[in-house]
């Protein structure tokens, strides 16, 4: 770990460095760390913003969408002039302007069964800021199999959820299978309060930074459920499920390259 922070870094990160729980060692750990953020939309925007500001040294961004005008109500790293551009390009420019310490790799692609393992391979922590069940189940399985910590976040109208998955319990311990296709609306269909992904994304970024620093208590083993309407935070305990197909006692998912992640997100026998 490189502790030789230069004068500009000592100034930029001074509010971290003076903290006993971070200090120069913690800041150096952040600068040496790598995080893959899947999705540069509502959740990905605040995650990228805060990870870059904190000095996470290597950030990967995976997203195959372009910026749309209807995104700008919540996706705060993109601007009016970015409409029509790939989100990964807009996000990369935002980070470059915010913090030159951060190296960015962009992947203008959807995360698929064919590329999931190789995408996550080089990163310390993965962030699920995606917007669909196939990607969520795929990332869960790939991260559990590769022993990579995964920060999960999701938003719907006034409601947000976040948890941190570090090897079990996992997302499938809570939701063994996705619901039948079409039964759950997405943000485009149901709407989402513009500031809501800011709250949940900031919580995800907090979790990632704590994992890198090895400080504090994460959301491992509990799901945070936030109701912006009632301004309440609930915590739901999640127990490891012995019957979980990916992290249970007799798991039958041992690869993400086979099976089916569309629709109900179950793997074939």
């Amino acid at each position: 770990m490189a502790l030789d922070l230069d004068a500009e870094q000592l100034d930029r990160y001074s509010r971290h460095i003076i903290m006993d729980d971070v200090g120069p060692e913690g800041q150096a750990a952040l600068l040496d760390s790598s995080v893959l953020v899947v999705g540069a939309g509502g959740l990905g925007a605040p995650v990228l913003q805060y990870l870059a500001a904190a000095g996470v040294g290597h950030i990967g961004i995976a997203d195959d969408d372009v910026v749309e005008l209807s995104n700008l109500q919540r996706q705060v790293i993109h601007g009016n002039d970015d409409v029509g551009r790939p989100k990964v390009d807009s996000a990369e420019e935002f980070i470059a302007a915010l913090n030159p310490d951060v190296d960015v790799d962009t992947y203008e692609t959807r995360v698929t069964q064919d590329n999931a393992e190789s995408l996550i391979e080089g990163y310390d922590v993965i962030v699920d800021a995606s917007d669909n069940f196939p990607t969520r189940f795929l990332l869960n399985d790939a991260c559990m199999l590769a022993d990579k910590p995964l920060s999960h976040g999701a938003v719907y109208k006034f409601e947000g959820q976040a948890t941190t998955l570090t090897g079990g319990p996992c997302y499938r311990c809570l939701f063994p299978e996705a619901p039948p296709e079409g039964t759950i609306p997405n943000c485009a269909e149901a709407g989402v309060l513009g500031v809501l992904p800011g709250t949940i994304g900031a919580i995800q970024a907090t979790e990632v930074i704590k994992l890198i620093l090895d400080e504090g208590d994460t959301l491992e083993g509990r799901l945070l459920a936030y109701d912006a309407g009632g301004m309440s935070f609930d915590f739901v305990p999640i127990a490891p499920n012995p019957e979980c197909p990916v992290c249970g006692d007799q798991p039958h998912i041992d690869s993400v390259t086979e099976g089916e992640y569309a629709g109900a997100c179950t793997l074939g026998d």
């Binding site: 069940f133 938003v155 409601e159 959820q161 943000c187 305990p237």
Partner: protein
């Protein structure tokens, strides 16, 4: 036989669970069994299964995909 049913982030109801399934416990909420996971002691239970007599509390978590 009364069970406390809490939908995370949306409040709780006391439900008479005698002779009912876990899916029946969702009646006070505006959700279908396809939209949620029903948890007992932090683990999902089959929604078409009868409520166990020793269960006093059930947590319900909505499946959300938006990001």
């Amino acid at each position: 036989m009364t069970v406390t049913v809490e939908l995370a982030g949306e409040g709780s109801h006391e439900v008479d669970a005698a002779g009912k399934t876990y899916a029946d416990l969702l009646a006070p909420f505006d959700v279908s069994k396809h939209e949620v996971s029903v948890l007992v002691d932090g683990r999902p239970v089959p929604e078409d299964q009868a409520v166990d007599s020793d269960v006093e509390r059930v947590e319900v978590v909505r499946l959300i995909q938006g990001g």
